[in-house]
């Protein structure tokens, strides 16, 4: 019998809150973590960023009993995962538990700024992830998903597959990224960063904001789900077009959407939580993909106006907030949006809307021509 995949615990640590509930409430109330910075490191171009207060993370580490010589990135992963694992009640030291980390750049800031007591090799993503699984006493070698901006969705898909295979009973899926001058300068060189709060799908959008977040879902393989969230399916597809520019026809996103729509009960689809970075190309591409997939009338919502682009965390945090929204019969407002600015007028709004339905789709796309979608369903 096919095993069902259930989400049994979740956590979001961000400038908007230290657990999922407070994050959801903040976003619903329209709060944003975005702020303008005039410089950072050698960067002298202004940019807008949602930055996690290091002091808050250190204090949270103290409260959660996270001691040891960790980098900010590792502390960030631990602060989120320790809370989610505690909530789940699982024994994370069991060999039946798999740890999956979703990140794009991990400890890369160590290249520019080495840290006392932290070995240089921790710049390797596998070594950083091992610090986390070791903290929990987990004997398995952790898997790191490094698929650019779609990593958080890919990590959940891989967890789903690993659980379905029968080899594991639980997967702890953690995503995070540290926004160091390394990443910020790179996106600035791409002229992709706005010096104002980003405006997804808006006519006046002028680029993305980056953001910091750590998010965790604990997934369980079970024979039956009653009163819980099921991760139904997911798909990853490549545009095969260009390594940085999205496909003009939204090819990969369209294919990924079509794949998850096979399992979707359309009358139950509450909304699509899009990538919505507020770059000219991304939002246009997504609108084309949604149109081609027949989703032009389905409510669409994006969270970058509250968090910025949180990279490794995005797919996980945005899935978690979508779960809370569906349970609250709510389509969250797309922060920063005012006036339709894409060719195909998708159903996006600056206001909180009411919705019905028990399913949502999470959509992401990223460098390398990568696109991914997944489908969650609440089972009564």
């Amino acid at each position: 019998m096919a095993r069902l995949i259930r989400c049994i615990a979740d956590n979001v640590v961000s400038p908007l809150g230290l657990d999922s509930r407070s994050n959801y409430d903040s976003v619903k109330a329209g709060k944003s973590g975005l702020a303008r910075y005039e410089f950072m490191g050698n960067i002298t171009t202004p940019f807008v960023l949602s930055r996690m207060d290091r002091g808050v993370i250190d204090a949270l580490c103290g409260k959660l009993g996270i001691k040891g010589n960790y980098t900010f990135f590792e502390k960030f992963l631990l602060c989120s995962s320790v809370q989610a694992v505690r909530e789940s009640g699982i024994d994370a030291s069991s060999e039946r538990v798999l740890f999956i980390v979703s990140t794009t750049k991990g400890n890369t800031s160590l290249l520019g700024q080495p840290q006392d007591g932290v070995a240089d090799e921790r710049v390797l993503l596998g070594k950083a992830a091992h610090e986390v699984s070791r903290f929990f006493g987990n004997p398995n070698s952790p898997l790191v998903v490094c698929n650019a901006c779609i990593s958080g969705v890919c990590a959940q898909i891989e967890a789903m597959r690993a659980l379905r295979s029968g080899r594991y009973d639980y997967a702890v899926v953690i995503g995070a990224d540290e926004q160091s001058p390394f990443i910020i300068s790179g996106f600035l060189s791409f002229k992709a960063i706005s010096d104002e709060p980003c405006r997804p799908f808006d006519k006046e959008r002028k680029g993305l904001n980056l953001g910091e977040c750590a998010a965790t879902v604990v997934l369980e393989a079970s024979d039956e789900i009653k009163g819980g969230w099921e991760l139904v399916c997911g798909a990853i597809r490549n545009d095969a077009n260009h390594i940085s520019g999205p496909s003009r026809t939204g090819e990969g996103s369209y294919l990924a959407l079509m794949e998850v729509l096979k399992e979707c009960r359309r009358e139950e689809l509450a909304f699509v939580n899009v990538h919505g970075t507020a770059t000219a190309y991304n939002d246009e591409m997504e609108s084309i993909a949604l149109y081609r997939a027949g989703l032009i009338d389905v409510p669409v919502t994006g969270l970058k106006g509250y968090y910025g682009h949180t990279m490794g965390a995005a797919g996980i945090m945005e899935s978690i907030l979508s779960m809370y929204a569906v349970r609250d019969n709510t389509v969250l407002a797309t922060g920063g949006y005012r006036e339709q600015g894409v060719t195909y007028p998708v159903s996006v709004s600056s206001e909180v809307r009411v919705c019905n339905g028990s399913e949502f789709i999470k959509l992401l796309s990223g460098f390398g021509g990568s696109n991914a979608a997944l489908l969650y369903r609440f089972v009564e």
Partner: protein, 85 residues
């Protein structure tokens, strides 16, 4: 100007890794983008860096690059008029 155009071509070949192309292969009036050299959006961004690094010209709006990178002649002309180093 002749000398500057040759230097600019060499710089472009170097930063864009146009391994099999020689300065004389690049027509001074032919479009840099589209057909021909096979340049893409990342190359355009890299040319913006080249202008700043080698000639002290800061280009904030990448859309402006479209006009400036029309051809070698247009680009050389723009550099000549706006260079600060």
């Amino acid at each position: 100007m002749e000398e500057m155009i040759l230097k600019l071509k060499q710089e472009i070949i170097e930063v864009l890794n146009l391994e099999d192309i020689k300065p004389e292969d690049i027509d001074n009036d032919a479009p840099l983008f589209g057909e021909g050299l096979g340049l893409d959006s990342i190359d355009a961004l890299e040319l913006i860096v080249l202008m700043e690094k080698n000639y002290g010209i800061k280009l904030q709006d990448p859309a402006k690059g479209k006009e400036i990178f029309k051809s070698i002649n247009v680009m050389a002309d723009y550099i000549q008029k706006n260079r600060t180093r």
